[in-house]
């Protein structure tokens, strides 16, 4: 034994593969299996009911919609905007500074809204998950309807204009001049979607 435990085969198989597989099963597979019966919602299903915020934007920026979302606030365009909004959220690494989970501690339910559940996160916009591990800015999982479209439009262009102490960067490439372009409309649509699948207080 004294010799075996210091030989390559034993270390490689037991520690290298065995212990990793054990942890993979105990921490990962068992955990995922425990929530595997929660129903999953695809983006197609989520975009059936077009958000009033998306419709409002089509009235406010008709030329931009003509260019980027021809056909107006249809389900297909809404789906495209939600998907693009989530993709931009990942590409700009918004999730490095904003979380999408409300914890049951530290008065977070008072500040942000209802505590997150595993069930509400089983949808295509959480694939990959965007729970986040750091909050430079506030949590966004209850953002829907919390601010107006105009507030978001001003905020993405210049955060300090509406929140003077903010340290958020400017996202001027979401705009053609002063009107939101495809990305800008998608981001506002995504912000106004976040948490709309949860009953608000």
């Amino acid at each position: 034994m004294e010799k075996t435990i210091e030989k390559f085969q034993f270390i490689f198989l037991v520690a290298g593969i065995g212990f990793f597989a054990l942890a993979f099963i105990v921490s990962g597979v068992v955990t995922v299996n425990a929530i595997s019966d929660l129903p999953y919602t695809s983006l197609d299903e989520m975009s059936q009911d077009v958000s009033p915020y998306f419709i409002a934007m089509s009235n406010q920026y008709p030329e931009q919609f003509e260019t980027y979302y021809p056909g107006g606030p249809t389900s297909e365009n809404y789906r495209e905007a939600l998907n693009l909004g989530r993709n931009v959220y990942i590409a700009e690494a918004c999730w490095h500074c904003h979380t999408q989970q409300v914890r049951p501690v530290a008065n977070e339910d008072v500040r942000f809204g209802p505590v997150s559940t595993a069930a509400e996160q089983q949808h295509e916009l959480m694939l990959p998950q965007l729970l986040g591990t750091r909050r430079v800015g506030p949590d966004l999982s209850r953002e829907s309807g919390f601010r107006s479209n105009d507030w978001h439009a001003a905020h993405f262009y210049n955060p300090q204009a509406v929140a003077p102490t903010s340290v958020m960067p400017r996202y001027t490439w979401f705009y053609d001049g002063k009107a939101p372009n495809k990305k800008g409309i998608a981001m506002i649509t995504y912000m106004q979607w976040l948490g709309s699948n949860v009953e608000q207080q």
Partner: protein, 482 residues
């Protein structure tokens, strides 16, 4: 330890080791460290609202931050570790690595992958996996032009073949030295971890995906950087001190404790999240358990120092190593405390965690890699010593003071944020309250950055200047073995 003695007897002129590969990996590693630290300074400036390139899409701070973290992990740490492996593995296994041409192939492919990653991230193809933002074809932003994760996996398999071949040849016949235990598992662990963390979250939504992201974040530190780091310490410390490690039994305990408990902890990055509670409790228990193992390794190395207490003062690599170990034990004790549920209520999501991450990645592994380079750089150049040992002292103190004050600043900022958030202060108040701390943090980062620039300058001068005969003070790093 006979192996340690054998290492000393081997001359650097033996063809056993490809010095060119060691040199190339060190140069590229420190090149990426400078780039990554510069990105860190830029990002810190954003938090001061002083970002130098506002409103430029391809230099957006969010994208810059991904280059900071990934550049440190894959650009700096992996490259300099590869240099250390090309130096240590042939000595420990008494045979060459599989193939020098494969070594150069890995070097160029890996360099290309990292540069292409930078392009991909700046072009907006990042992946939503913390520390694995390297573009993935299967992610929502994925592009067939940037199959980086797949390429990295191929690269990691090539690296494993390169080093596991001599380790297998040697270790399947006779017992291996401690370093090789760590190296044997690190190569397979990183392949499994990388495949798990970068691909599974693209197919499992919500809390389930978060479980695997948690495992990945933790395993990248625990199953790649930590085993390679300790393997290097078990090799370099005895050979520089010219005495064996204190206790072989404690080495065994430390290795098997790490191997068993480390992979089980990943979920502790998502305490109080929507991941099932049993997984969170399990992660906390195993996190506390591993701290016992950490203390044994720490005791083992500090007992090794017995009788040579002044070595960290007189011997520069040993000083980097042991300072790193002190930071390591601080990080690990901190980890056992702040992983508790009562602490997570306050410190989760705050700058506390950022301080913790810098302490372990720069304070421990960065210091160790700088220490390894301190020892290896003159050797691979065939020189007696560094161009300026005095400048090296400056580098050490700039990095140590910079890092320690950054840690204190971020930890206190984290506490301020955590309590203000729980106290329901308006969000602006929490930002205003840490504004000065963030300014101070930028200054500490700059101090470390300038330190590393001076280190690189010293490397360059050592490389180009012909050796002078004057006696070098304070750096008997490469004194000839008696």
């Amino acid at each position: 330890m006979t192996v340690a003695v054998q290492q000393q007897k081997m001359s650097i002129n033996q063809p056993l080791i490809n010095l060119g590969l060691v040199k190339a990996h060190i140069i590229v590693g420190f090149g990426f460290l400078i780039i990554a630290m510069l990105m860190g300074v830029f990002y810190a400036l954003q938090l001061n609202n002083m970002y130098p390139f506002p409103g430029i899409e391809f230099l957006s701070p969010g994208r810059i931050r991904m280059i900071h973290t990934n550049g440190v992990a894959f650009g700096f740490i992996v490259n300099v570790f590869l240099a250390g492996l090309y130096w240590a593995v042939p000595r420990l296994t008494k045979s060459k690595v599989l193939d020098d041409r494969l070594g150069w192939l890995i070097f160029w492919v890996y360099l290309f992958i990292i540069l292409w990653t930078v392009v991909g991230i700046l072009a907006g193809h990042g992946q939503a996996v913390e520390w694995g933002e390297t573009p993935n074809m299967f992610s929502p932003n994925g592009s067939i032009l940037f199959p980086i994760d797949t390429l990295v996996l191929v690269g990691l398999i090539l690296i494993a073949i390169q080093f596991l071949t001599p380790i297998f040849k040697f270790g399947s016949k006779e017992p291996m030295y401690v370093s090789l235990w760590y190296f044997s598992v690190a190569f397979i662990w990183v392949i499994l971890t990388y495949a798990m963390g970068n691909f599974l979250p693209e197919f499992i939504p919500g809390a389930g995906g978060a479980t695997f992201v948690g495992l990945y974040i933790h395993d990248l530190v625990g199953l790649l950087v930590t085993p390679l780091g300790w393997g290097m310490m078990y090799f370099f410390v005895p050979s520089l001190l010219k005495k064996p490690i204190w206790s072989h039994a404690v080495s065994l305990l430390g290795f098997w404790g790490l191997a068993f408990f480390y992979p089980l902890q990943g979920v502790h990055h998502f305490i109080y999240s929507t991941i099932p509670m049993f997984a969170q409790f399990g992660a906390v228990v195993s996190t506390v358990a591993i701290e016992i193992m950490v203390v044994t390794v720490f005791i083992n190395f500090f007992m090794t120092l017995r009788g040579r207490e002044l070595a960290p003062v007189t011997n520069m690599p040993i000083r980097w190593f042991y300072t790193g170990m002190v930071f390591y034990v601080i990080t690990c004790i901190q980890c056992a405390v702040h992983v508790q549920f009562w602490a997570q209520e306050f410190v989760h999501f705050t700058d506390w965690v950022v301080g913790h991450a810098h302490l372990i990645m720069f304070g421990t592994f960065g210091f160790w890699l700088i220490g390894i380079t301190t020892d290896l750089w003159p050797r691979v150049l065939g020189k007696q010593n560094w161009w300026s040992p005095a400048l090296h002292e400056w580098v050490f103190w700039m990095c140590t003071i910079g890092l320690a004050s950054m840690f204190v600043a971020l930890t206190s900022a984290g506490l301020v944020e955590g309590f203000l958030w729980k106290g329901l202060a308006p969000w602006e108040v929490s930002l205003q309250s840490v504004r000065l701390i963030w300014l101070f943090r930028t200054a500490t980062g700059l101090l470390m950055f300038v330190g590393i620039l001076l280190f690189a300058y010293n490397m360059y001068m050592t490389y180009t200047r012909p050796e002078t005969e004057e006696a070098s003070v304070g750096m008997p790093a490469v004194a000839p073995a008696k």
